[in-house]
């Protein structure tokens, strides 16, 4: 079950054109590695840059398959993998599918935090407090 929580938005003026959250944990069996992320409600998947995927042991040889994704300007086929957990601030989701690809000019270092993670929560973006609240959804409550 997803663990609700909150995370700070990078308030740096350099990052003000996007929702940038720092130090997102990607967990595999045995450990976690950390990257920065753009919050993107328009992205179906969480997309991890190849450089970070390499730290997790993900490469073309152990991918679970590929997924065809519509991006601006056409289609791309991305490698599909699975992480044990994604932690964003104090929120956490277990067993999350990810795609591995590059983000494009200017965004190579960061991952995209898409709906595969976000839709586990009721998401509130508080621009006044520079934070994102990730609250429990009724659909996730035990009956």
């Amino acid at each position: 079950m997803p663990i609700p929580g909150r995370v700070g938005i990078d308030p740096d003026a350099s990052a003000e054109s996007v929702l940038l959250v720092r130090r997102v944990a990607l967990g595999v069996i045995g450990g976690e590695q950390y990257v920065d992320a753009l919050v993107d409600t328009g992205s179906t998947y969480c997309i991890v840059p190849r450089r970070a995927a390499r730290l997790l042991g993900f490469n073309k040889d152990n991918r679970l398959g590929t997924t065809r994704v519509s991006v601006v300007g056409g289609w791309r086929r991305m490698d599909r993998h699975h992480v044990e957990r994604i932690r964003v601030g104090t929120a956490r989701v277990h067993s999350v599918p990810i795609l591995v690809d590059e983000m494009g000019a200017g965004f190579n270092p960061v991952m995209l935090l898409g709906l595969a993670f976000l839709q586990k929560f009721n998401v509130t973006i508080d621009f006044d407090r520079d934070e994102i609240l990730l609250r429990s959804r009724k659909a996730n409550q035990p009956t």
Binding site: R23, V28, Q33, Y34, R54, L55, G57, V72, F107
Partner: protein
Amino acid sequence: MHGTLEHLRNSNPGKWLLILLDGPDAEEGTVLFAHDDPETIDAELEKWAYPRSVEAGPLYLTYALAEGEKLPAFAL
């Protein structure tokens, strides 16, 4: 170089940083590598590929924006 994550980024503007965190969720860490060339970073990451990356401890791959550098507008 060891310090807070903010200090490490501020000390290395315009560079990719591979930081060994002091522990899970630690606010401090040690810079293992800093470089402004992504291809050089790629080569360096080969040395830290799994499982060494997991054995080493929590690694944080980040980019320190340079003074005045803006992330581009984003649409996907």
